[in-house]
């Protein structure tokens, strides 16, 4: 059963906006489902990409409507939207940074392996196997 279900209580009484809000519920539900089966880490990046695409469209539409009708609270809304967008890009950068650390760790480790294992420990068996006729 989905955890994040849109209800009438959430309605902002503007159909187009309600429909877009429903999409956010769907994204949250997807993330929750992945997390439940231990795939949250695997799917996180595609979820964040989806969120970033989603907000570009939804916040854009919302702000356009506000500007069109001279909604007095538009500046607060814009500020909140920007904070949301910034936060999502912060999460995306955070993953990139963590992956970069892993890449550097892997590279250091592989370089050491090449020098200490292949060139030293593996080299030791070359003559042994050659003498047994393996080459």
């Amino acid at each position: 059963m989905p955890l994040f279900v849109w209800k009438n209580d959430y309605s902002v009484k503007v159909n187009a906006m309600d429909n877009q809000h429903k999409q956010l519920f769907a994204i949250m539900d997807k993330l929750h489902e992945y997390m439940k089966v231990g795939k949250g880490s695997e799917m996180l990046e595609s979820i964040l990409t989806e969120l970033s695409t989603y907000t570009q469209r939804h916040f854009g539409d919302e702000e356009k409507l506000m500007a069109q009708h001279g909604y007095p609270g538009i500046e607060d809304q814009k500020r909140a939207h920007k904070q949301f967008i910034d936060k999502i890009s912060e999460y995306r950068n955070d993953i990139k940074a963590k992956k970069l650390v892993s890449a550097v760790q892997t590279m250091d480790f592989l370089k050491k392996w090449l020098l200490n294992h292949i060139m030293v420990i593996d080299a030791k068996y070359a003559d042994f196997f050659n003498q047994k006729g393996v080459n």
Binding site: V14, L31, I95, K98, S102, K124, Y125, F129
Partner: protein
């Protein structure tokens, strides 16, 4: 440009194993090139999986030969292989754990957005838009 080129001083004088070592070197070069191009984060997941698959095959080739010909340093060599697999798995697990934590953060952030933005700030515009004929 490759960081490491295969050369005869890397040879263990057994063709099959040399070929497998060349494959490892090509993975190191692939990772290095991606790091240089600032794209390490795009391929580190694939590299870690490739390394796990690669070593499963390569270490088995080496160990089978060692068993067959009773290589005297077999036990020590096998310990080295185990350490390699552990190290790669550790890097992979660390990255996954960090992404898992991040997915929790994202989920909490979205829940907070739902209750503080959609259910509060957005509700404020309902009447405004409705009275402007938008619904």
């Amino acid at each position: 440009m490759a960081i490491i080129n295969w050369s005869s001083n890397l040879s263990v004088k057994i063709d099959k194993i040399d070929n497998q070592h060349k494959k490892l070197i090509s993975m190191i070069n692939e990772l290095h090139d991606a790091m240089k191009a600032g794209q390490a984060n795009d391929i580190i997941g694939k590299i870690l999986n490739d390394l796990i698959n690669y070593t499963a095959e390569h270490f088995k080739t080496e160990e089978d030969l060692m068993i067959k010909f009773k290589y005297p340093d077999y036990n020590q060599h096998k310990i080295e292989h185990t350490k390699f697999v552990q190290e790669v798995n550790n890097i992979k697990k660390d990255l996954e754990a960090q992404k898992m934590m991040l997915s929790l953060k994202v989920m909490n952030f979205l829940k907070d957005w739902l209750s503080n933005h959609i259910m509060k700030s957005d509700q404020k515009y309902s009447n405004f838009f409705n009275s402007n004929g938008v619904n």
